[in-house]
């Protein structure tokens, strides 16, 4: 099979499986490990996991598609989630997303031409008090205005954010 993982990820997977009374319970941890290495979960990756856990590939894909934090397509260097649930939506998250895309010259869900970012909507990021919010990889940016967005986009373009 063309699908390959680094030894480090394979070791993590080997360590995770025995933690659970049933093999298939390790599914989500394994998916996280693979996504960490590859940036997304290809169909080949999912089939590999299914074989590893002795379950049908459809069971893996049901999980992968259910959780927004698993991705089936490659993303840019930075993965940006714009919250669009009620508080953020009322406070302008659609505008924020439009502006962010404009600044990064991309469209929601696509990798920007310079490969530096992918912008996507996300459901509630659990920070309604500081709406609107955006998550860049694992960091939260709160109380955003359009100026903040222009600045955020600049920092991503100029690689000030690692």
């Amino acid at each position: 099979m063309a699908f390959e993982l680094s030894q480090e990820t394979l070791d993590t997977i080997d360590k995770v499986i025995p933690r659970y009374p049933q093999r298939q319970s390790a599914l989500m941890m394994i998916l996280h490990a693979i996504q960490k290495e590859q940036g997304y979960l290809s169909l080949e990756a999912q089939e590999w996991v299914a074989e590893r856990l002795e379950i049908a590939p459809i069971k893996v894909r049901e999980v992968v598609t259910f959780y927004p934090f698993y991705r089936e397509k490659p993303v840019g260097k930075h993965y940006i989630r714009v919250c669009r649930t009620l508080s953020c939506a009322l406070n302008g998250s659609y505008k924020i997303c439009d502006r962010l895309c404009q600044e990064l010259d991309t469209k929601p869900g696509e990798i920007s031409p310079d490969g530096k970012a992918t912008v996507e909507f996300a459901e509630c990021l659990a920070s309604c008090g500081t709406a609107p919010v955006v998550m860049v990889d694992d960091d939260m940016y709160e109380n955003l205005t359009e100026d903040d967005i222009v600045e955020l986009a600049r920092r991503i373009r100029e690689e000030e954010i690692k």
């Binding site: 999912q46 049908a56 590939p57 459809i58 069971k59 893996v60 049901e62 598609t65 259910f66 459901e123």
Partner: protein, 902 residues
């Protein structure tokens, strides 16, 4: 019974049901999506909201989901409550936010549950002004079309496909308004019950792909009650037609047989009648060279002279032909010269099965009985491939234990999710004995994969264990005895044990063993024990009751010169006898007359050929594997030169001057004569109302009340509307004229009720929702059970096979082993090429790997195919799929010894 107050009126309701079921059973209209009578409730769609009050003083009440609330005595609910009404209307409104406005191009339009429910709730304008979410659709194989944009996330599809039918390849992906139902990647839906999704889906996500190939709206089709003739279960169907061709098959509810579901072979096999090579004109060999097409009268006259000049006439009918057709042939040739067209060995096995069914306590088990059994022993059958609807029922039988367990915790049966969660996958005992892997193995407690003789031995051992009540195992037991004891213990412990057997392995011993198990259980005090039998073809049992000769004796009559003219109807002799025997028979014959509806190897040799009408084009009766006589009716008046076999035979009788007028002018005449001649078949007349039946002096219309069929299709011939064909055989008209009242269940041609245009209108055709058909389930059971006739058998001795010999056993394919459905393009696409199944050990010994080619000699015949490894098959067995149309050898007398050719 509980008393239920709905909007101030009082109704009687069954306390084991929920409020939705009670309201629908009371004839009230309450919209729903996710609930399905066979699948139960999950409370997902919030569509069936009603207001429930605590007591008569409670003025406020609360909104509840009717499908999730049990009926309690004295319960008070309101469907008409304004808030509940508004609630239901807003449910449709939010479902509609993503549902496209494509009804005019949607195949479901006009028979769509979503349309009906939208109208019923009163929702008529929407305020959603954003983009609708869209999906990419998947290719799902030749049976179903996928259009996910229309989905309203009721989850019925996965609940049917996975939970009910045991499928593995349809899933629910993603979350909130992106939920997607499909496969993990494009491809054929594997389950043989996938076609039911077209009826289970409340809107147009899954639609019938074969219908799409020649689409017509529901209201433009003429329909009639029909019976599926692709296996022996006899599921009830509705065949719909337009412009002289069958367009689709729908499920016709039969409380005791198919319930709500059909298998894909039954749903899509109908297109054998639309096969491009279907012979549709009478032919004569003598005029073949000239290239002229003879007139029907010419062919009939020729046949008349063949018969008049004959030294002796013999007739061969068929277990796939109707009772009437077989009987007409028998009447023409006489009892001594008539065969139902199966070989002596098969006939003996069928005789054993019929004897077993006659003897079965309480009569043979219906599919519904099978569903309600709590311990099952399948002896020498592979129901998933030979009688799929029974396999679907067996999948429900293993759930009985969890339903009882839930009942003990006061969880009602309809509370589907709760019952399943409580069961945690626990299954009741299903023991299966079949030489190869089956699709039921995954739900079986044990699978015994040995030779037919060993299977019979296991059956007799189980019977003995039950008789001796020695369920405690000892260390001295052989593995077979241990297994027999385990099976006996499960059967003895059950409240309603069931034994399923059949003719698939062509073994009398297996059927005798099944009888022995049933009678041992009955003796041990299990009076509720049932026996289900599976026969080879749609009318195997019915044809057998006519007591014809074995095929070999007809061959002998021809070979010794007693007969020189043979009529064969709906039977390809090359599938029944060795090729050499048939070739010799044809050489010896002076004239061969063939009547059939499909192109077969035999039709090429016919001196005269008459094209038979298919089941959807003719009237007649079949007897299913439960011994139930059932009637089917014409869904369309066939083209000018097509007639039912019995009708052709009647016309032949006139031609050869045996009769002044056609002895079988209509169905009722032949039924009456047959009843007089064969007392056992007398009951068949009661299977459905005769042609004289009327409701208020009116016939039953085949067209729905919204039929718009006045089209200009024939305008180039005449601008006048042609007179609809007359039907002398049935109490049904080929038009929309007739009684608007509900006919008896045997004559229901389509499901419709005001406000209910989809198949869900069926609720109005039942005595209570999910209950018996109004006026009782159609058909008549001919075997009351308990008739003792046949001596008890014993296991036959194993013939010692030399190590380099293999025992070839017949295997079956749901798509491929049935002759008729093989001529249906969609079913044919699903059939797999010929492959030999054998164990890895045997393959190793022969130096073969998966996918290698292997040649076998069985008797005189040589057969080559690829090898497929079967993980459970025992050594020295080799499985050969039978009935496939693409093989050079269409007949093999299996089981038989096979030798490997170098």
């Amino acid at each position: 019974m509980a008393t239920l107050h709905i909007d101030g009126k009082t109704y009687e309701a069954d306390p084991s049901k929920n409020l939705l079921e009670a309201a629908l059973s009371a004839g009230l209209d309450l919209p729903y999506f996710c609930w399905h009578p066979a699948l139960g409730s999950v409370g997902a769609c919030r569509q069936c909201a009603v207001r429930q009050y605590r007591d008569e003083n409670d003025k406020n009440g609360q909104i509840v989901m009717a499908c999730m609330v049990p009926v309690t005595d004295g319960a008070r609910i309101s469907i008409a409550d304004p808030e509940a009404t508004e609630f239901r209307s807003s449910v449709v409104e939010w479902l509609m936010t993503n549902h496209p406005h494509d009804c005019p191009v949607c195949d479901e339009g006009g028979e769509c549950h979503l349309q009906d429910m939208t109208v019923m709730t009163g929702h008529c304008s929407r305020s959603f002004r954003f983009k609708k979410r869209t999906f990419e659709n998947q290719y799902l194989g030749p049976f179903l079309n996928h259009e996910m944009n229309r989905c309203i996330q009721c989850y019925r599809c996965v609940r049917f496909y996975n939970d009910y039918a045991g499928g593995h390849d349809l899933g629910a992906f993603a979350s909130h308004n992106h939920v997607y139902f499909g496969r993990h990647e494009e491809g054929v839906l594997e389950s043989e019950f996938s076609g039911n999704l077209a009826e289970v889906c409340p809107t147009g996500v899954f639609t019938d792909k074969t219908l799409k190939g020649h689409y017509s709206r529901k209201w433009d089709m003429q329909s009639a009650p029909s019976i599926c003739n692709h296996c022996s279960v006899g599921c009830n169907t509705i065949a719909s037609s337009r412009y002289g061709a069958v367009r689709r098959i729908l499920n016709r509810y039969h409380h005791d047989i198919n319930g709500y579901f059909l298998c894909d072979r039954g749903r899509y096999g109908y297109e054998h009648g639309n096969h491009p090579d279907r012979p549709s004109r009478p032919r004569l060999r003598s005029t073949k060279q000239s290239g002229l097409e003879p007139e029907t009268t010419e062919v009939l006259a020729a046949i008349g002279s063949f018969l008049n000049e004959a030294r002796g006439i013999a007739a061969i009918g068929s277990p796939r032909a109707s009772l009437e057709s077989n009987y007409a042939l028998q009447a023409l040739a006489g009892r001594e010269a008539f065969s139902i067209g199966i070989a002596e060995a098969s006939s003996a096995v069928l005789d054993a099965l019929v004897a077993a069914l006659r003897e079965a306590p309480g009569g043979p088990a219906s599919v519904r009985d099978i569903e309600h059994s709590d311990a099952v022993f399948v002896l020498g059958e592979d129901p998933s491939n030979t009688a799929p609807r029974i396999a679907l029922a067996l999948r429900q039988s293993v759930r009985q234990v969890s339903i009882k367990h839930a009942a003990a915790h006061r969880i009602p049966r309809w509370h589907d999710r709760a019952v399943r969660d409580l069961a945690q996958g626990r299954k009741g005992p299903l023991h299966s004995a079949w030489p190869a892997q089956t699709r039921l193995d995954e739900i079986s407690k044990s699978a015994f994969c040995e030779s037919p003789n060993a299977i019979a031995k296991l059956g007799f051992a189980v019977a003995q264990c039950i008789g001796e009540d020695s369920s405690s195992s000892s260390s001295a037991d052989s593995p077979l005895q241990k297994q027999a004891k385990a099976i006996a213990a499960d059967l003895l412990e059950a409240e309603q044990p069931l034994v399923v057997t059949g003719t698939a392995l062509e073994s009398e011993a297996i059927i005798d063993a099944a009888r022995a198990v049933v009678s041992a259980l009955a003796k041990a005090g299990k009076s509720t024990v049932r026996l289900a039998g599976i026969a080879a073809e749609a009318n195997s049992i019915g044809a057998h009751l006519l007591q014809g000769q074995a095929l070999e004796s007809i061959v002998a009559k021809v070979m010794n010169g007693e007969c020189d003219t043979l009529i064969v109807a709906e039977n390809d002799l090359y599938r029944r006898l060795p090729h050499a025997t048939v070739d010799a028979l044809l050489d010896k014959l002076s004239k061969l007359i063939v009547i059939d509806c499909i192109p077969s190897s035999l039709t090429r040799h016919a001196d005269a050929f008459l094209p038979a009408a298919t089941i959807a084009e003719s009237d007649g009766s079949l007897i299913n594997c439960e011994g139930r006589g059932q009637r089917f009716f014409q869904a369309l008046s066939p083209k000018e030169n097509l007639h039912a076999t019995w009708d052709w035979v009647g016309r032949i009788q006139v031609e050869c001057q045996r009769s002044d007028t056609n002895p079988w002018p209509d169905l009722d005449t032949i039924l009456a004569k047959m009843a007089a001649d064969c007392p056992e078949l007398a009951g068949i007349r009661e299977a459905a109302p005769g042609a004289g039946f009327r409701i208020h002096n009116q016939k039953i219309p085949r067209s729905p009340r919204r039929f718009s069929g006045r089209t200009s299709i024939l305008a180039h011939e005449s601008v006048h509307e042609p007179k609809p064909p007359e039907d002398k055989d049935a109490a049904m008209s080929f038009s929309m004229e007739g009684s608007a009242l509900q006919p008896p269940a045997a004559l229901v041609s389509h499901y419709w009720s005001p406000g209910w245009n989809s198949a869900q209108a069926l609720n109005k055709f039942q005595e209570e929702v999910g209950g018996p058909n109004r006026g009782g389930p159609p058909g008549l059971r001919l075997f009351p059970g308990g008739q003792n006739g046949r001596p008890h058998g014993s296991p036959s001795t194993e013939s010692a096979a030399t190590p380099d010999q293999l025992l070839a056993i017949p295997l079956y394919q749901v798509f491929g082993s049935d002759e008729l459905s093989n001529h249906s393009a969609a079913v044919r696409e699903r059939s797999e090429p010929l492959a030999f199944s054998l164990s890895a050990k045997t393959a190793d010994r022969l130096g073969l790997a998966d996918g290698d080619s292997l040649s076998l000699r069985i008797g005189e015949q040589k057969l080559t195919a690829t090898v497929r490894l079967d993980p459970v098959m025992s050594e020295n067995l080799i499985g050969i799929p039978v009935g496939l149309s693409d093989t050079p050898v269409t007949y093999l007398p299996l089981p038989a010894q096979a030798n490997v050719c170098e």
